[in-house]
């Protein structure tokens, strides 16, 4: 039986598969379909200091083998997350490691959310969202500039002992300097990719389908871009990488691990197939055997990234 455990800062995972931020709420909905204890971990919807209403609707559109979303960080705010969502998870899935995706507009509010999360013992790591393309001040500015990204990472690390995984944007000319900057600034790991910016038009109305005009592209369509960015970032840093972007099968997950990821988040695939995560988890050992993988350590990363 191949070994599917992975060990990352703050996260001892029985398998590398976790739902991606924003695609799984805070877990309650998908718990109607299966026991979330099967998951390696769970990444929550973005959490901001104050509740946020997000963007007007329509907020989603379909694209070939993918989708656009412009949710705009709607969330109930960190107080509610601490009072309701995290305790629900702790009560029903006490062993499940939770990663809270933290978003904001300034260094201060990001840091305030990070500091507040100390109160929740089931939170094992923070994913710092510096790459939301869907709100005017959704952190995307942090995600496209190495210095701002580093400052934010440093400020957040200063207020929490939790490991911080910085979630990078694919919408940049060169992702490597940003990865290097947050690495130097104290990131415990990296998460990539967030969504690519895209849009669609309705031919009858000749208007953009999304009320926000642009949205974030995700799903199988973006997988080759995610693989490239993960491999490029792996080639400049040893930090653990939570890889994501178009994973729907165990083979997709393995391909991303070979590219340089250490764990895998599954986003939009949940919408198409509510059992996406448990299916991948069930298939993973079989596919590892098929492709002669014994474990999921750094050994499996493509040597070209080393």
């Amino acid at each position: 039986m191949p070994d599917v455990t992975v060990h990352l800062p703050g996260l001892d995972l029985k398998n590398p598969i976790m739902p991606a931020s924003g695609c799984f709420g805070f877990g309650q909905e998908y718990s109607q379909f299966y026991d979330l204890n099967q998951l390696g971990a769970l990444i929550t919807k973005a959490t901001t200091l104050k509740p946020r209403q997000g963007n007007p609707t329509p907020r989603v559109a379909e694209t070939e083998s993918g989708m656009l979303n412009a949710i705009g960080l709607q969330n109930p705010g960190v107080d509610h997350v601490l009072a309701k969502e995290l305790p629900w998870l702790a009560e029903h899935y006490p062993e499940l490691p939770i990663i809270v995706n933290v978003a904001g507009t300034h260094v201060d509010d990001y840091a305030a959310v990070c500091a507040a999360l100390k109160a929740a013992p089931n939170v094992k790591a923070i994913e710092l969202n510096i790459s939301c393309p869907n709100v005017a001040h959704g952190g995307m500015e942090f995600g496209t500039d190495p210095d701002s990204a580093a400052q934010l990472t440093q400020a957040c690390s200063a207020v929490t002992d939790l490991p911080i995984y910085v979630k990078l944007s694919p919408n940049v000319t060169d992702i490597r300097p940003i990865a290097e900057a947050v690495s130097r600034a104290g990131a415990a790991g990296l998460s990539l990719i967030n969504t690519l910016v895209g849009e669609r038009f309705d031919l009858m109305t000749r208007q953009p389908i999304l009320a926000n005009v642009t949205g974030g592209l995700s799903g199988p369509a973006v997988k080759p871009v995610a693989l490239r960015l993960i491999q490029q970032v792996r080639s400049v840093t040893d930090l653990p990488i939570i890889g994501m972007g178009g994973v729907s099968t165990a083979d997709d997950a393995l391909e991303m691990l070979v590219a340089g990821a250490d764990a895998i988040a599954v986003g939009s695939a949940n919408f198409r197939e509510p059992l996406a995560c448990p299916n991948i988890i069930a298939d993973l050992p079989k596919r590892m055997t098929h492709f002669h993988f014994e474990n999921l350590t750094k050994e499996i990363h493509w040597e070209g990234t080393k």
């Binding site: 695609c23 709420g25 909905e29 379909f33 997000g54 609707t57 949710i71 509510p274």
Partner: protein, 258 residues
């Protein structure tokens, strides 16, 4: 509790230009599904159509263990569904959302149903259930034209039916809002249910929400269909956002801003 199931297609036929009815074997769904709930359907053989498509459950036949839904061919997904063969199966999530609240409708209660276009099919199941409960059902149906009309005969078996068409080729000439203003102002109802385009929902909301319990079924582009992604929200009168997929799709008219 929603389930994911592979439901065999028993029949599919065209009921009007561009409008098809699909009947599925769904012995579990018929046990629990309520009028106004919906299913989320994976388009078969087209993995590139990434998202599921939500459709309201039209009718539930508990004896046969079958549900039906009725859809308009709009884009590539519904286009592909027309080609689905009897005997193959659809991957379906359901029943999803909350249906029309009718448990407390007592025999003899006069109720009004207002539907337009592809908002009509779910009202058929609702009308049938209300009739079974002994309610006195009046349905107002709005079509584009006679050529594009469907299901009048089936509604006729559930009670009184008033029909409007945009071009006047069938029944009242004009939209259902005008029909209600012209023909129903003197009539007494104790509950109103509506499903259809925004203008229709507005007309029903404005006319009835202050007088009687009024329920509207809303639509929105969805991703997860179960409340996890925040794609489908609608603003409420108390400045909150509700999820159409899991808090709705049926809402009390007074609760939502259209």
């Amino acid at each position: 509790m929603p389930q994911q199931q592979l439901l065999p297609i028993v029949a599919q036929h065209q009921v009007a230009p561009e409008i098809y009815e699909m009947i599925l074997t769904a012995p579990d769904l018929v046990q629990t599904a309520q009028p106004g709930q919906f299913i989320d359907v994976l388009v078969p053989d087209h993995p590139e159509h990434f998202l599921r498509r939500p459709f309201a459950i039209a009718t539930c036949d508990a004896k046969q263990g079958q549900i039906s839904f009725t859809y308009r061919v709009k884009g590539p997904g519904t286009e592909a569904m027309v080609a689905c063969q009897v005997g193959t199966s659809l991957d379906v999530l359901g029943p999803l959302g909350h249906g029309f609240p009718i448990a407390d409708v007592t025999p003899g209660t006069p109720v009004l149903l207002v539907g337009g276009g592809t908002g009509i099919p779910p009202l058929l199941g609702l009308a049938q259930r209300l009739q079974q409960q002994g309610a006195q059902v009046t349905t107002v149906l709005g079509y584009r034209s006679q050529a594009e009309s469907f299901y009048q005969d089936r509604f006729a078996k559930t009670g009184e039916v008033c029909i409007a068409s945009d071009d006047g080729t069938l029944g009242f000439h004009g939209h259902v809002g005008l029909l209600m203003a012209a023909q129903l102002t003197e009539r007494h109802f104790e509950r109103a249910f509506a499903c259809g385009p925004k203008g229709l929902l507005m007309a029903v909301k404005n006319r009835y929400q202050a007088q009687m319990p009024t329920y509207l079924s809303l639509e929105s582009r969805m991703a997860c269909g179960i409340g996890a992604c925040y794609a489908c929200v609608t603003p409420t009168t108390d400045h909150e956002l509700k999820k159409i997929c899991s808090d709705g799709p049926v809402f009390p008219a007074q609760e939502v801003v259209l």
